[in-house]
């Protein structure tokens, strides 16, 4: 296993591996030290190698020096704005996936971001689960799981017939419950925040509603888990929901 830098101390087994055979390496450019520390801590525990730059120039120098697999870029950074840095990076490296962190959430800002070459964006404040999901999606760079059947433990969802079975027993779902379950099953074992669920299953115009996700998940859960000993759909207090196969227990 090739080591890129003496800075990197992440070489345990099961580490995220990049195409060069090394750890997946992520550059975080964020001037808020606490935010970058949070991201670094979280990503490190997910077995990524993380470098942090606190301003645009430092970020540019690091991006020049190392072949990163992903860049997480805050737009409001000193010395060189995020947009300027992004343009510089794009001139040299068109393939580096860039996830932009922004404190704005207007559509025209977002359009501009994609124009200068961002691959995805995340609005602050975000749940770490959401950041992780987008990071993984960008690193995967392949098509999402589009196979016709999704399986989580004894739960099976057939996308062609739109039928759902648990341990062979058919479960009748409404359209929304089906969409919700499909989203859960695509992200097995991952925590999905209410925001992520709303944006995926509904759309942003519903994010003003306090309890829509909770109500729909409760109904879905009663259909999926009632009468079963193992409860697959779990609430993660304060964060969101996740689906578990129960195979490990």
């Amino acid at each position: 296993m090739k080591c890129f830098s003496s800075k990197l101390q992440l070489h345990f087994m099961g580490q995220a591996i990049n195409g060069h055979g090394g750890a997946m390496r992520i550059l975080v450019i964020e001037d808020e030290q606490k935010v970058s520390a949070l991201i670094k801590r979280g990503l490190t525990s997910e077995r990524y190698a993380v470098d942090v730059a606190a301003d645009g120039i430092e970020g540019w120098e690091l991006a020049e020096a190392y072949p990163y697999d992903l860049m997480i870029l805050d737009l409001m950074i000193p010395r060189l704005t995020g947009a300027e840095l992004l343009q510089r990076v794009r001139r040299k490296n068109t393939f580096l996936p860039v996830l932009v962190l922004t404190a704005r959430d207007s559509i025209d800002d977002k359009v501009k971001l994609f124009e200068v070459g961002a691959d995805d964006y995340l609005t602050k404040p975000f749940a770490f689960a959401e950041l992780l999901m987008r990071v993984k999606a960008l690193l995967r760079r392949g098509p999402v799981n589009r196979s016709s059947t999704l399986r989580v433990g004894e739960l099976e969802l057939d996308r062609l017939t739109q039928q759902v079975r648990r341990a062979g027993k058919r479960i009748e779902l409404t359209a929304k419950e089906y969409a919700l379950l499909e989203y859960f099953m695509q992200n097995e074992e991952r925590v999905l925040s209410r925001n992520m669920i709303i944006e995926h299953v509904w759309d942003q115009s519903f994010d003003g509603i306090t309890n829509i996700v909770d109500v729909y998940v409760r109904h879905l859960r009663s259909k999926v888990d009632d009468g079963n000993l193992f409860k697959m759909i779990r609430t993660i207090r304060g964060t969101g929901y996740t689906i578990r196969s129960g195979n490990e227990t």
Binding site: E32, L38, R41, S106, I107, F128, D207, T210, G238
Partner: protein
């Protein structure tokens, strides 16, 4: 004519001034002419008396009384004389010219001069027929020492006639002049005031949608030009203040995002630690929920300030409100079902407007969510989408707790809650209706609310209607603009119908 218009007031003022001036003038003319007429009448009378004395009385001693009578009869024929003359000595009349004709005045009844006050001066007498006469009494002492009175008299009837005519002329001309002046002045005032009218109309328009507009500067070099310039400077200051306000709320919500990110991240990391005691998990979970609520508030504030500040880039396209409402209700059905609230929908399609589909949807989402939130279990919500009075109209009524009458005006205000405890319990941001209003404003719509406390609330939104031909209407695919991927739309179409039939 508006009662309070400047034009009316100015016209009234100067017509008033003119009236006073004309009155003073008329009074002066009237009394001046009366005095002049009286004086000339008196001069005539006194001159005649003097002439009689010098022509007939002085030679009387030599020529005798018959001569006097003959001479005077010739000069002052009885019945025709004007003035009337009478010469008397004591109680004996030497000559008198008889009654006046035209008008007839019976002078023979006028008493002989008895009052010494009358001597060598004028006095007025009302004769039996009601006529007033002026009498001049001149005394002449003959060389023999006896006192002779020469009276000359004339009626003041002609003077009165002249004065009456004058009065009539004055009474007729003064109001005529005033009316002409008022009308003329009122019309004349419209010219200098026209810029003011234009200015007013423009000023009404400023700020209704955007501040950007300026008033037309009136290049007259006078007070009006200064007024228009001053107004423009005031608009500039207002605009700056408003921009500052918007920037502040945008900046504030923006600045809150980073600390919120940190709080949330730290708490998320903490709650994942193994072997936490349940009350710690409970505490961190609660803190996480609140930070999510705070994030929602920040997001909503930002949305409102962007909409209010005109920074929001709206994607304005023709849409059918019925589609928007139908799709939105489909996506929220379970919320109503949970509380056993029946949702009755009345659609009178098509109801086309020009708008941003996502924002319009947000309006419906917020209103329906409110209706469900404040309606007790087993209640009813009625949703109407129709064209009413040439406006595109969405009306959402519930059988909920209602809003107290004194709060109705305030429900669209930011952070206003009708029932503090209640809505906090349900975890709202207090900004839902403010967002509705902000979205309505940028769509030139009007949001209104009616409510009977304990009985229910009706929120009504009206947008300008978009008139479309059938061919144009066919091309509108509102559902596709709602951010629902077309493939999903097809795939779930059966399911969606299944949901909607539950209402």
């Amino acid at each position: 004519m508006k009662r309070n218009s400047l034009r009316t007031r100015v016209t009234t003022f100067y017509v008033g001034m003119l009236a006073v001036a004309l009155l003073v003038f008329s009074v002066a003319v009237y009394f001046g002419i009366r005095a002049f007429l009286n004086r000339s009448l008196e001069r005539t009378l006194s001159n005649s008396a003097q002439t009689i004395v010098s022509d007939y009385l002085v030679p009387l001693g030599q020529k005798g009384e018959p001569w006097l009578v003959a001479e005077m009869t010739e000069s002052y024929p009885p019945g025709y004389s004007d003035p009337f003359v009478r010469v008397s000595q004591g109680s004996r009349i030497l000559y008198q010219s008889g009654d006046m004709r035209d008008p007839f005045v019976s002078m023979s009844k006028v008493p002989l001069p008895s009052n010494p006050k009358w001597f060598n001066t004028f006095h007025r007498e009302t004769v039996s027929s009601g006529q007033r006469v002026v009498i001049y009494t001149l005394t002449y002492r003959t060389p023999t020492g006896s006192l002779v009175f020469v009276e000359t008299a004339a009626t003041i009837e002609s003077t009165r006639h002249v004065l009456q005519s004058l009065l009539l002329v004055l009474l007729l001309t003064t109001p005529t002049i005033l009316v002409v002046a008022a009308v003329g002045g009122y019309l004349l005032m419209s010219r200098p005031l026209r810029p003011v009218v234009v200015l007013t109309e423009q000023a009404e328009r400023v700020g209704r949608k955007e501040m950007g507009e300026r008033l037309p500067v009136i290049r007259t070099g006078d007070e009006l030009e200064r007024l228009s310039l001053a107004l423009n400077r005031m608009i500039e200051r207002l605009e700056a203040a408003l921009a500052h306000n918007h920037r502040f709320s945008a900046d504030a919500s923006h600045e809150l995002r980073t600390p919120l990110t940190i709080i949330r991240g730290e708490l998320e990391a903490l709650i994942q630690m193994p072997t936490l005691p349940p009350h710690v998990i409970e505490g961190i979970g609660s803190a996480l929920e609140e930070s999510a609520r705070m994030a929602k508030i920040v997001h909503s504030l930002m949305t409102i300030s962007r909409l209010d500040g005109g920074d929001e880039q709206l994607e304005l396209v023709p849409v059918d409100l019925v589609d928007i409402v139908r799709v939105t209700l489909d996506h929220m059905g379970l919320l109503a079902e949970e509380k056993h609230i029946s949702v009755r929908t009345v659609y009178r399609p098509p109801v086309y407007v020009t708008g941003d589909p996502m924002r319009l949807k947000q309006v419906v989402v917020n209103l329906v969510d409110n209706a469900i939130k404040y309606t007790p279990n087993g209640g009813e919500i009625r949703v109407l989408v129709a064209v009413e009075k040439k406006a595109a109209c969405i009306e959402i009524s519930d059988t909920g707790i209602g809003i107290p009458a004194d709060s109705l005006k305030l429900v669209f205000d930011r952070f206003y809650r009708t029932d503090q405890a209640r809505s906090r319990e349900s975890g709202g941001t207090g900004l839902g209706l403010s967002i509705v209003k902000a979205i309505c404003d940028v769509h030139s719509g009007v949001a209104s609310v009616e409510s009977i406390e304990g009985n229910g609330t009706t929120v009504r939104i009206e947008f300008p209607l978009l008139a479309l031909t059938l061919a144009q209407a066919d091309q509108i695919q509102t559902a596709a603009q709602l951010g629902v991927p077309p493939s999903d739309e097809v795939r779930f179409s059966d399911g969606a119908n299944e949901v909607s039939t539950r209402y």
